[in-house]
Structures are given as C-alpha cells and as structure tokens.
C-alpha cells in the first residue's frame, strides 16, 4: 500500500461488530471518496439509460409502423405474470431501499435481512421469466431475423410460429425480437444485480458497512433501483401494448 501522505485516512467503526474503513490512498477525505464514487456511478447509470433508450426508440419506431403486430404480439404474453413480476420488482426495490437505510443507521442484521429479501425477489422474478420464455419457445416464437441460414445453408427454425398466432399480422417476429432483446438484457441486469447484492451480504456479515461507511451498499442499491426503473416502462409497453 502506498503511504504518500505518511498515513492513511481511516474511518472508525461505529461500535463492536463493525470494521473500520481505510480510505483509498488517492483520496484525501472520506467525503471526497464518497462523492467521487457516487458521481462515477451516476455517469454509469446515465449510460445504462441510454443503452435501454436505444431499445425503447426501436420499440416506439416499429410500434408506430406496425401497431397491429404489436397489439397481437402483446396479447401472446401473459399480462398476469408480467403484473406479478412488476409487484415483485417494486417490493424488492423497497427492500433494497430499506437495506441501504439499515446500513446508514448501522443495523447489520436488518441490512442482511433486507438484502436476502431483495435477492429472493430477483430469484422469483427470474423463475417467472423462465416460465414465460419456455411458453414462447414452445410456440416457436423465438425470433430470427428474416430467413437466416446456418453454415450448411439450412434455414434456421427459431421463429416458426407453428401455431399461427401471428399469422394475421405482418412481421410477427419483429415484436418478439424486441420483446426478447429488451427482457433478456433486463434479465441480465437482474442476475448481475442479485450477484452484487450477495457480494454486499458477505461484506455486511463481516461488519464492513455501517453509518460511517456504506458506499458500496448505496451504489449496488442504485443499480438495483435502475432495474426496477426499466421494468416500470417495459411492463405496460410489452404486456399491455397500447
């Protein structure tokens, strides 16, 4: 470790059962460390908004061109499962907010409990997503962009729509391309977020997070809320196609 300043800044533990935090050597004060990390994370979240923003632009564009395709496509999704998942994510967002709060007031047990509940929400969400995806695969609705062929020249059979549910509308695979791309990237964020929360739990169990140092809990919390934020828009757009 570098000791350019002759000493490291140490944030003391607020009490027994907690660990002190050593401020990274390139920061002068804990406050500077906190604000730099927060600013960096907000920048990252801004890029996340723009990542999903491109996909939302694609949605609105094609919805404008083929409203019937989106209407019929949306009817193939189970809105009840979508609504349950919305409630699950809202509840998990609340438990995460409560987890960050628990860290801020040095309540180790509550922090662990709220993190565990949030991960439980993530697991329930992904299980429901799995059931939904399975049903779409069974109906041959996994999209392939227009007539793709494999190496042997055989046409790929991902999007067969063998039950003909999209037969009456043009470009049925367009809706499912957008549905799978958006929900899969969102689902990836759910999985990454749950992994980060588990990582927080390991640190929390050791007593790393408390009123004097809760930065990682705060940042992971922000990431989890973003997952909720995206879903708030995905649910009405995909399941209740206007």
């Amino acid at each position: 470790m570098s000791h350019d300043h002759g000493h490291s800044v140490v944030v003391p533990a607020p009490g027994p059962g907690f660990l002190p935090h050593t401020v990274a050597h390139h920061f002068d004060t804990p406050k500077q460390e906190f604000q730099a990390a927060k600013l960096g994370f907000w920048l990252f979240l801004a890029t996340e908004i723009l990542l999903f923003g491109g996909l939302f632009a694609a949605y609105f564009y094609f919805h404008q061109v083929y409203p019937e395709t989106f209407k019929v496509g949306g009817e193939q999704l189970n809105w009840r499962l979508g609504a349950i998942n919305t409630v699950v994510l809202l509840l998990s967002s609340w438990t995460m907010a409560m987890g960050v709060r628990s860290a801020q007031v040095s309540q180790k047990g509550k922090l662990l409990m709220y993190c565990a509940l949030t991960v439980l929400g993530a697991v329930i969400f992904m299980c429901i997503k799995f059931v939904e995806y399975q049903a779409k695969f069974d109906h041959g609705l996994l999209p392939v962009f227009g007539g793709m062929h494999d190496a042997l020249g055989q046409q790929l059979q991902w999007y067969t729509d063998h039950d003909g549910v999209m037969a009456g509308v043009p470009h049925g695979n367009l809706f499912f391309s957008i549905y799978f791309t958006m929900t899969a990237i969102h689902g990836l964020h759910v999985i990454i977020g749950a992994g980060l929360i588990v990582w927080i739990m390991f640190g929390a169990a050791k007593g790393r997070f408390h009123a004097n140092y809760f930065l990682p809990v705060d940042l992971v919390g922000l990431y989890w809320h973003l997952v909720d934020l995206i879903w708030i828009f995905l649910f009405p757009l995909l399941y209740l196609v206007p």
């Binding site: 944030v11 004060t29 804990p30 406050k31 460390e33 906190f34 604000q35 927060k38 600013l39 907000w42 920048l43 979240l45 801004a46 890029t47 908004i49 723009l50 923003g53 491109g54 939302f56 632009a57 609105f60 564009y61 919805h63 404008q64 061109v65 083929y66 809105w79 609504a83 919305t86 409630v87 809202l90 509840l91 967002s93 609340w94 995460m96 907010a97 409560m98 709060r101 801020q104 007031v105 043009p170 009123a211 004097n212 140092y213 809760f214 919390g221 922000l222 809320h225 909720d228 934020l229 708030i232 828009f233 649910f235 009405p236 757009l237 209740l240 206007p242």
Partner: protein, 133 residues
C-alpha cells in the same frame, strides 16, 4: 421513529453528508407505486385510442420519478449528480423526438405533388437511367 429519521447525516464526523429517509416515507412510496401499477392495468382496459400509449407512459413516468427521487435518493443528492443522471433523459428525449418525428413524416412525397405514400407499400426507389444499360 428513531432519532436517525430525517437526520441530515453524520457530517460532524466528516464522513460525507447523507440523508436517512424514514421507513414511513419508503412505505408510502411503495404503496403509491403498487397503486399506480393497478391504475396502469386498469387504464389499458379502457380504449382511449391513440391516447392509451400516452397515458401508459405518463403513469410510468410518475412511477419512475418516485423511484428516482425517493428510492434512489436523488432528491437529496448533490446538484452535479442530479445534473449527470437527469441529463441522460434529456439526451434520450432527443433520440426519441427525432427518430419518431422522422418516422411519422416518412412517405411524405414531394409536397408540390401532394402525394403521400403509405409506409410499407413495397415502394422501391427507381435507379438512375445511367445504370439501366
């Protein structure tokens, strides 16, 4: 509840200011979010025509604002953090406005001929004569 509720941080120690939101506030926000989810489903059942999309996005925006302001603590965050995050929505709106206004006016042919082509009629741009030999 406890003395920590709405206490504006522990800045006296110099570990950075932070705002501790009360449990009551978080519970109220959660209840409003759940209520608005019911409204979202209910509103989708009524046929408002083209306004359905607008209404759905309006409700979603209210929900998103609550999550951002309260759950993500943006309400109590520094001005620079607010600017950085909220500016992403400004850039997103630019992307959406230009893309969708472009799409909405696609197929508008030469205004002097006042012909409007449908978007998906298989229209192919004729090649210049030079290439037709």
């Amino acid at each position: 509840m406890s003395a920590h509720d709405h206490a504006h941080g522990h800045d006296a120690h110099g570990y950075g200011p932070h705002h501790v939101t009360s449990t009551k506030t978080f519970v109220s926000v959660l209840l409003v979010l759940l209520f608005l989810t019911i409204i979202t489903v209910a509103a989708s059942r009524v046929d408002f025509g083209a306004a359905n999309l607008l209404i759905a996005m309006l409700i979603a925006s209210v929900k998103a604002s609550l999550v951002i302001a309260i759950f993500m603590h943006v309400k109590w965050d520094t001005a620079i953090n607010k600017l950085v995050f909220l500016s992403s929505f400004l850039f997103l709106s630019l992307l959406l406005i230009f893309t969708l206004s472009d799409q909405a006016t696609r197929g508008d042919d030469d205004p002097l001929r006042t012909v409007k082509l449908p978007v998906d009629n298989g229209f192919v741009q004729p090649k210049p004569h030079a290439e037709n030999h």
